[in-house]
């Protein structure tokens, strides 16, 4: 799963730490998601998309290997 979380975050001018606090996870978790080292659960993906007022599909996309 790839994502454009970093871009969305930059557009909204939110730091990793701010986003992490808003959704109740650690900053390292946000960092891992952005670097595609960790795929969030559906609940976490929904929470993230809600922050950016977007659908989950607009932030997270399936890759050919998925």
């Amino acid at each position: 799963v790839q994502n454009n979380l970093k871009i969305e975050r930059a557009l909204k001018n939110i730091t990793q730490d701010d986003l992490a606090k808003k959704i109740g996870v650690s900053r390292q978790t946000i960092n891992s998601i952005e670097k595609n080292r960790y795929t969030p659960s559906t609940i976490l993906a929904l929470k993230i998309s809600k922050i950016f007022n977007k659908t989950v599909n607009e932030i997270f996309q399936l890759e050919n290997s998925d």
Binding site: G24, V25, S26, Q28, T29, S32, R37, Y38, P40, S41, L44
Partner: protein, 131 residues
């Protein structure tokens, strides 16, 4: 919907876990100074029991911020330590040969548990750092 979650102790239990190491050191000091008169083997068993209780509490206490990623890393670390411990038991007799020990000498439960805890803590902390 209810989800099955990994039940862990609150974060402040980490301090309680560390206290057990202090307790183990205090027990060793009391034993070596003959304040507590006990058989060597009994004292050894009690010391290891105190250390293992401390390690277990440390292993199952939550991080300051326990989220789904740390829970996943924790489960991976548990699996890694279990699989490695099985490998350790299988390989140890052959390692014993290399060092001139008896091939049939068995791995003690203390050795095995210590190995599992060390591998668990190593896997969990490296997972948190690099994943």
């Amino acid at each position: 919907m209810e989800h099955k979650e990994l039940k862990l102790l609150p974060n402040y239990f980490k301090k309680i876990g560390l206290l057990f190491f202090g307790l183990a050191i205090a027990f060793i000091l009391l034993f070596t100074n003959h304040i507590i008169p006990l058989d060597n083997e009994v004292a050894k068993t009690i010391t290891f029991d105190i250390i293992f209780i401390g390690l277990l509490i440390l292993a199952i206490s939550k991080e300051k911020l326990e989220d789904e990623r740390t829970t996943k890393l924790r489960l991976i670390a548990f699996a890694f330590s279990f699989i490695s411990a099985v490998g350790f038991v299988i390989v140890m007799p052959f390692v014993n040969i290399l060092f001139g020990d008896n091939f049939l000498s068995e791995v003690s439960s203390n050795q095995l548990l210590l190995t599992m805890f060390i591998l668990y803590f190593a896997a969990f902390s490296s997972g948190k750092k690099y994943n």
